[in-house]
Symmetry: C2
Subunit: 368 residues, 2 copies
């Protein structure tokens, strides 16, 4: 892995040098992990003119058994308790002869930024912007393989849940059960808070599980994901409880399914993100559900569950090959419930078979 | 509750006016909740010269069934997708005639702070510092009652786990089981990531559960807490697995128990935080474990699990009555394991019976 990290840091360094900064300070946790391996939350990475190094709040001893920093990086530790690694890193940048330092202004707080300026008053502070986030958009096959394993784990957890008795159990219990199963199958943990929504709650994006119990005739929508080696995927499915779905349930399900398929089929390298959004959205708009739709119909996934690119009506930018994204349109009708179908796919050229579906649980409307 | 929020906002307003700002923008989620009730994460609160109001990223509709904002506050919603509530709030402050706005510089990022300045260029931006955090330190009886219920829930979850068979189960499974039980007993969720540490992992502060299985002869240390109506407590206990603890285990346990008791007994109104730390720490120092100790032996709890005050050797400040804190010394010996005992207590005057212990699970060394 060390070489992979080195290549990534070189790309960032080129980007900073082009912007006139000889040094960069990376503080956003997912960005530090991308460039330097797994480290505790408050660790920062300095790309210095002479040497790259990590600055930690505490020694990387056995308190952090999950830490796997790139071993070529020297690790500095903030002395005492409560010091800011970013301020120490700024001092170390100055000691290496840097005269300017590009920082992540979208992550550092005003107070930390000021402390950093005080720690190295001669350093000119610049903004590295979202340069690391942009590097992270296109994934290598190693990263995609982590997402693929995470998706398999989520499929397994969901599949097992479907074999159990659901009527009478609460949303909260089902969500906890799913999270336990994710860990059983080897996930680091859930990729995000598992959402289980029944009856009138079904189809709500980001619904937080309540004590409502599953009833006969309910829609049940579930959204979960596994984190595996730091990589996070998502799968969402909607089911009906009981022997036969009602007509309105079948109609609504078919509609969302059609919209989601249209979104999936539009995932080709070079497609505009807003066109992917439109492909899914116009199906639902056309059926009169414009008001019931979420602002986003899909987004990138990786070390964070919600990354660039975003599929919205106003999105700029195009999709590249090897970008993993979700396609997750849904409709929620207040008081009645709704449908949500969410897959994680990797954008691939048609010559390679088109979009690679990572979450393979069936999207037929199952009656459970 | 509306009156309680109004009183809290009045106290903050007095504090801002004394600092020369006619308006304040509160963005840190726990601070917004303290002053305005339960709202989605990215909601901000404006204390304006004419009117206090909430600014949300999305409408507070049935997507947020857990939202319970103070109903006297008008709610503004950022139009479109992805706009920053803080920037809109700055504009609304200017529209109310404010010429300066105190913001939480320890929470706002540099980029958001700049966007806020652009949204209201005539507004002078000041720093409200940790004024709200300081207001939050002393709790009212309603808040303490939420912590007390949370502690009861955590005691119940822990008690049930102790009745089950532990040998052969992994740290991860035990942690998930505890979290499920917390929810069973009415918690909003875990107060923080439940820590279960066995054998050589035992006694590590903040240990993240691994796939290690419980073995005969292990120390087992567990740290968990319930969130109840937003309030978060902590309990930590260490047990031995098997019929009889080894001599070194009994000795180490007795030592940490003695240190923890010394910490608890020093919790009186007016005590210096560093003296509470020293009371616990010197017992362990004296036995030769100075190197094995964490930087902090206790901290405040409330809407966040780690609040002011902090018990460290360099801490400034004194304890007041009605401040809930943890007392959680521990020793971890690399390769062998260790002991951690953690209680949540409320500082009370001696006339009221002294410190009130919220987490009542026994601290005898149990062999399970």
């Amino acid at each position: 892995m060390s070489e992979v990290y080195a290549v990534r840091r070189t790309r960032l360094r080129e980007c900073c040098n082009a912007g006139g900064s000889a040094a960069a300070l990376v503080s956003r946790p997912a960005n530090v992990r991308y460039l330097a391996g797994a480290v505790p939350e408050d660790t920062v990475l300095l790309l210095g003119p002479a040497e790259d190094l990590l600055v930690c709040a505490a020694p990387l001893d056995d308190r952090f058994p999950q830490a796997r920093p790139d071993e070529v990086l020297r690790v500095h530790v903030v002395p005492g308790d409560g010091g800011d690694p970013a301020a120490l890193a700024a001092g170390l940048a100055a000691a290496q002869g840097a005269d300017s330092l590009a920082v992540e202004e979208h992550h550092l707080t005003v107070a930390r930024h000021r402390a950093l300026g005080s720690a190295a008053p001669r350093l000119r502070l610049a903004d590295v912007g979202t340069a690391v986030e942009q590097l992270r958009v296109v994934k290598d096959e190693e990263e995609i393989s982590c997402l693929r394993i995470g998706a398999e784990i989520a499929d397994q957890a969901l599949g097992e849940l479907l074999e159990s008795i659901l009527v009478g159990r609460t949303e909260r219990h089902l969500a906890l059960e799913l999270e336990r199963r994710l860990v059983d199958h080897g996930a680091d943990g859930p990729a995000f808070a598992t959402s289980v929504a029944t009856g009138p709650n079904s189809g709500r994006p980001g619904h937080r599980p309540t004590d409502r119990r599953v009833e006969e005739g309910d829609f049940l929508s579930v959204c979960l994901g596994a984190a595996y080696r730091g990589y996070r995927c998502a799968i969402g499915r909607t089911f009906v409880i009981g022997t036969a779905p009602a007509d309105w349930q079948i109609e609504l399900y078919d509609l969302v399914f059609t919209a989601q398929r249209a979104g999936r089929e539009s995932l080709v390298p070079g497609a505009a993100c807003r066109d992917v959004d439109r492909a899914a959205r116009q199906v639902l708009d056309g059926a009169g559900y414009a008001e019931a739709l979420p602002a986003v119909t899909g987004h990138g996934v990786g070390l964070e569950i919600d990354e660039d690119p975003r599929m919205t009506p106003a999105a700029m930018g195009k999709l590249d090959a090897c970008v993993p994204v979700t396609v997750e349109p849904g409709v929620h009708l207040p008081g009645r419930g709704g449908v949500r179908i969410d897959d994680t796919l990797v954008v691939r050229p048609e010559a390679d078979g088109g979009p690679e579906l990572l979450t393979i649980t069936t999207k037929e409307l199952l009656a459970l």
